[in-house]
Amino acid sequence: MKQIFMDYANATPCDSRVLEAMLPYFIEKFGNPSSHIITKGNEALSALDNSRKIVADFIGAKFEEIIFTSGATEANNLALKGYAFANQHRGKHIITTEIEHFSITSPLRTLERLFGFEVTYLPVDSFGFVSPDELKKSLRNETILVSIQLANNEIGTVQDLKELISVVKENSSAVFHSDATAGCGFIDINVSELNIDLLTLSPTSLYGPKGVGALFVKNGLVLQPLIEGGFQEGGLRSGTENLPAIVGFAKACELGKIEMSDRCNYLKPLRNRLWEGIEKNIDFVHFTGHPEKRLPNNVSFWIEFAEGESLLLMLNYMGVMASSGSACSSNLRGKSEDDLVASPVLTAIGVPKDICTGSLTFSLGMSNTIEEIDYVLQIFPGIVNRLWQMSPFYLDKIKGHTPKLTKVDK
């Protein structure tokens, strides 16, 4: 059976041009940039410098403002804990939102629990937007840091960062961090236009490699490093640099810069076709996120009377791979039921908490085709119906209601 991958928010293959750029750095150019007195090390340092320059250019930053990390999660942790530890004498209040990734909220919970910080989690509206007014009201004298994502990987909503940043800048001395992991492959970012202080970048949405990410740290900001040792990355992140991945990240940025608008133009019609097809053919569907201000590759919704993990399993059985924010589909590797955590994003945008929601996210990529979209639209109604037929809630509900389903498999 054909395998159709529509979970690009959680995993992307490397672009073959990215892998090609990386390959020399495994065996041939294996040097350590810190040993740049010797030829091999100097060759490595040149590649590192060159990569840093490309990634800096990608977001309009300066060379020395890019700190390479092992990924977006580490960059988020460094931004939050690193800034908090180094600047706690100025205040111990941090502001974020209710729809951040766990790599934002988990370190913040630790700062609260172990290190005496106070964190405000701003609510969002039903589209997932943070209100500039609420943000303004939550700023205090002791607020040292505000962290708000660029785009949400689950519901696709893209914040108006520029406005949110100016609210913070005009009303406080707090610095602004944004997790741009989910957006940086689709949205042109310029750190000086945004007037932002800290920004997390990931190659994930750029068809770059795993094992690398970057934190933009505006010149002059002081951070306490989390990973200390050999003074790499200006002392902010020690450890021998993962040069193949860094070179691949840079290549992905270089290609992304050139091809970004083409990619968006390719993905948007596919996304719209999927969205419209689902809207037309399936009942009890609630789309999530803003219809316009959203990632060009994201279709997200929840379906009444069908549970997310079951939807995923059936779709996967039919060769279609997507993701869900339902508790039941989370963290299946956990040690107990307590390790299952529903996505807080759905709760934050007002999806009723008392039902285990059938949330689904299709995130498209450059390998997807119209034919694939049409195949999904062909099989999906039957899958939904099958689960409805098992659901006691659906049974109770439909007495007297004729669902809009147009196709039913078997």
């Binding site: 549970e307 059936m314 508790a327 039941c328 107990s336 039921e337 299952l340 008392d354 006691p392």
Partner: protein, 131 residues
Amino acid sequence: MADAQGPYSPKVMEHFLNPKNMGEIPDASGIGEVGNPSCGDVMRLYLKINENEIIEDAKFMTFGCGAAIASSSMVTEMIKGKTIEEALKVTNETVAEALGGLPPSKIHCSVLAQQAIEAAIKDYREKKAKK
């Protein structure tokens, strides 16, 4: 560790994809509905019990994940033909075992199945007492 098949055993997938005894029993002798408030799973078990207290038929309606649906299907198969005393001896461990094991985080789905039997038999006994 992951099975080559995915998070679930082949047996779980079999029961999930082709569940046995799915549906209602309109004139059920006992109905048990149990749920897991933390994730919202709900399992409704219908039993048809004859005068010898033998479970002649069992059906289910379940809202939940793959493990919940497979546990529902498996438990109906396990208790059909059994006396209610025998059925009450079915535990979550035996359900999970019959399914070829469940991931640790999904053990609660087999617990739900055990609870559904208990609830349905309690309902049957209460209905019978009322008659």
